[in-house]
């Protein structure tokens, strides 16, 4: 008999959630067969059986949170003693399947044994019920859906132990929301975002630098590239390209910061923030400094699409992040550093603005870049030179930047 463990699906991820059991207890499983789907904050993973046998015991039903590397089930030979006894006490209550403890059985036992029924009621009051079958009226279900209330946490007062609308209202009010307000609980992604961004703002002393970039040259390069079949370079791609080049020169910007040290990363892996449903993801373009514009554009497009469809595959740890609201008409904004990186670059809209060139005023396509830096790791002069280098790379783009493998001499 071997345990099935909650997989470790990423660094800094202490628990996983059982999403769905594909096998029932007692069902035969083959080595390599997917038996359960688990979720981390950001993605779902399939867990395979490591040997042939029978799924002896499920320790954690769907929706349970389990620390990584803890057993969630046992696989063995039929008749083998399951280690159910060895399961932590807290797992016992919630591991009962609906089949073992169906609603009908519960109702029946309430009729037959009033004392037990009271005990059952007490349980309902004191902790969330895990029964799959929850008796709730259609009106209660609709309201719970609208207010994002888990019916398992609602105390029923309707006929036959049914949750009725007033029970959901009471639960909503108990949570501090007025009856007319809508409660939207944070999903996994939102929770993770909240955690990381709070960490960032609470622990990282941010400072900000601004640069106005004349995009005339970069635009010309972009237009020329976009003439080519299947090539679609965005303004953000131009900035990724320039920033990656600058990072190779300014390696103290390409670091991971810890509390008392920083690690200069050899690879320049640029994350690009992508808005997805209920949050944002930062898929990474690995070794962006070694990629040409067209290749970067292709990576950007594929990454964004994968992120939106929830199909991101982990690539490399990001070392620098770029975030753009330019396409939404935002001129400039102050971004939040994505830890453990030491800086993030915000890209504003390219728009015609009057600029002074020599003694004259001209109208040029201008863009504002905002660099947010972790002052623990980097200082203003160095960061300023870095930002100016990005500006320079963009303003001096030329034909050589159009080649597929960009190895511009520098």
């Amino acid at each position: 008999m071997i345990p099935v463990l909650m997989p470790q699906v990423g660094q800094d991820i202490p628990t996983g959630t059982v999403a769905q059991w594909l096998k029932k207890e007692g069902e035969p499983v083959r080595k390599g067969e997917v038996i359960v789907i688990v979720e981390s904050e950001k993605a779902a993973f399939e867990v395979e059986a490591e040997q042939d046998g029978v799924l002896l015991k499920i320790l954690h039903p769907a929706e349970s949170q389990v620390p990584v590397l803890e057993p969630i089930a046992y696989i063995g030979q039929p008749g083998e003693e399951s280690e159910a006894q060895a399961v932590p006490a807290w797992a016992g209550e919630i591991s009962k399947t609906p089949a073992e403890e169906g609603t009908n059985n519960r109702l029946k036992s309430e009729l037959q044994a009033p004392a037990e029924a009271h005990a059952a009621n007490d349980r309902i009051k004191s902790e969330p019920r895990k029964d799959k079958e929850i008796l709730a009226s259609p009106a209660a279900r609709r309201l719970a859906r609208e207010k994002g209330i888990d019916l398992a946490t609602v105390r029923p007062t309707g006929p036959g132990g049914r949750i009725v609308e007033r029970d959901v209202l009471a639960a909503a009010e108990a949570r501090g929301a007025a009856a007319s307000d809508t409660v939207i609980p944070f999903g996994r992604l939102r929770k993770e975002l909240a955690r990381r961004l709070t960490l960032s703002k609470q622990t990282i002393p941010h400072f900000y630098l601004f640069a106005e970039v004349d995009m005339t040259a970069a635009h010309a390069v972009r237009q020329a590239l976009n003439q080519q079949q299947g090539c679609r370079v965005t303004v953000t791609d131009l900035v990724i390209y320039a920033a990656a080049k600058a990072l190779r020169e300014f390696d103290r910007m390409n670091v991971h910061v810890e509390s008392d040290r920083m690690i200069v990363r050899r690879e320049v892996n640029i994350g690009v923030a992508v808005a997805v449903e209920d949050g944002l993801l930062v898929p990474v373009i690995p070794r962006a400094d070694q990629k040409g514009l067209a290749e970067i554009a292709e990576w950007s497009r594929k990454n964004a699409e994968a992120a939106r469809r929830g199909l991101l595959e982990p690539t490399a740890p990001g070392t620098f992040t770029i975030t753009s609201l330019g396409m939404h008409g935002v001129r400039m904004f102050l971004p939040v550093i994505n830890p453990p990186e030491c800086a993030i670059l915000a890209v504003g809209a390219v728009e015609p603005r009057p600029v002074v060139i020599g003694e004259a005023v001209a109208v040029r396509p201008m863009m504002t870049l905002t660099l947010a830096c972790d002052h623990r790791a980097v200082d203003g002069v160095y960061a300023g030179r870095f930002l100016n280098r990005i500006k320079e790379l963009l303003e001096k783009m030329d034909k050589s930047d159009r080649s597929d493998k960009s190895e511009k001499s520098d």
């Binding site: 009226s137 009106a139 279900r141 609709r142 009725v164």
Partner: protein, 337 residues
């Protein structure tokens, strides 16, 4: 089409249900010479329930006709007259006797408009009365509205108050389609406010007879007053029910019923007729379909027992819904037993 004025609240007086019906007939006969009445004992005797009292004197024997005891014949005669443009009002003394005229009503009156490609009309009103009324036994106590409700082409009114009785009957007479106008024998002597002057009540427009927030009672005809007294009792227990009276079953003001259910989250449909195959089942089905996400409980039906009505008064009362049955059903639905 008849232009229907909305109900305008005016000065009113208290009158009996049967007097209100009499007034409706009188006003419509004065207004339109095509309106005439026929039925058993309606002229010289003034009707078994006195609804047509005094009409022979005012309108003469050509417009108020006593007929033989032959429902199929005089209903058929009335349908023929209606086809030629007259507006007959037939009285069938008991709805139980309407079964004799079913072929005329169902196969002729209800079909004619459609089968003539919309050319022919049957502006007929069949007035009749049903329900249990105190020891009239199995053949004189039935609630048979479902038989007519089942037939496409018929309109059905079942007024619960003198005001509704008058307003609906006047409208029924002016409509160009056959109307089965079902009165209730226990309501003829009931009294209520009736507005002064001319008013009509549109078919398909129900009325909230009592507003409430906790549960919706849907009832028509005599069951409305049973619901109203049940509502009083429930109110004393802190439960405020809303009583919705659709007033006409065809067309049915489902919107008003649904509006109420969406507010209260609970519905109890009350009918005097036997439970099986009744109008209540149809209304309940529509409620659950149209307002499913608003329901806190299954739609309850309080209805007559599936049995012929016994002669014994005690047994009769056991067979049709009583106030206490309604009170119990509301409490059961709300989980307040």
């Amino acid at each position: 089409m008849v232009a229907i004025a909305t109900e305008i609240p005016t000065a009113s007086r208290v009158m009996m249900y049967r007097e209100a019906l009499n007034e409706a007939l009188r006003e419509e006969m004065r207004r339109d010479p095509k309106v005439f009445l026929l039925g058993e004992g309606i002229a010289q005797r003034g009707g078994s329930y006195k609804v047509t009292e005094g009409l022979l004197e005012e309108f003469g024997p050509e417009r108020v006709l006593d007929t033989p005891i032959a429902e199929a014949s005089f209903t058929g005669a009335a349908i023929g007259a209606a086809m030629t443009g007259m507006r007959p009002v037939v009285e069938i003394l008991f709805i139980d006797f309407a079964l004799l005229a079913m072929d005329q009503i169902v196969n002729q009156a209800a079909k004619y408009h459609l089968m003539t490609g919309g050319v022919g009309r049957v502006p007929l009103v069949v007035r009749t009365q049903g329900g249990a009324g105190g020891c009239l036994a199995a053949q004189h106590s039935q609630s048979l509205e479902a038989l007519f409700y089942h037939i496409p082409g018929l309109k059905i009114a079942m007024p619960s108050t003198p005001k509704d009785a008058k307003g609906l009957l006047k409208t029924a007479i002016r409509l160009d389609d056959p109307v089965i106008f079902i009165e209730h024998k226990s309501l003829y002597m009931s009294k209520g406010e009736v507005p002064e002057g001319e008013y009509l009540i549109e078919f398909g427009r129900g009325e909230v007879k009592r507003p409430g927030r906790d549960a919706t009672l849907v009832a028509w005809s005599a069951m409305v007053s049973k619901c109203m007294s049940a509502a009083e009792k429930l109110s004393a227990a802190g439960i405020e029910v809303e009583v919705v009276d659709p007033r006409t079953l065809v067309p049915l003001d489902m919107e008003r019923i649904l509006q109420s259910v969406r507010k209260t989250r609970c519905a109890i449909v009350v009918q005097e007729a036997v439970r099986r195959g009744g109008v209540a089942s149809d209304i309940a089905a529509t409620i659950q379909h149209e307002a499913f996400d608003y329901l806190d409980a299954p739609v309850e039906i309080v209805a007559g027992r599936v049995t012929p009505i016994p002669f014994s008064l005690t047994l009769e009362q056991a067979c049709v819904p009583q106030e206490d049955d309604i009170v119990a059903a509301v409490k059961r639905t709300m989980g307040r037993e």
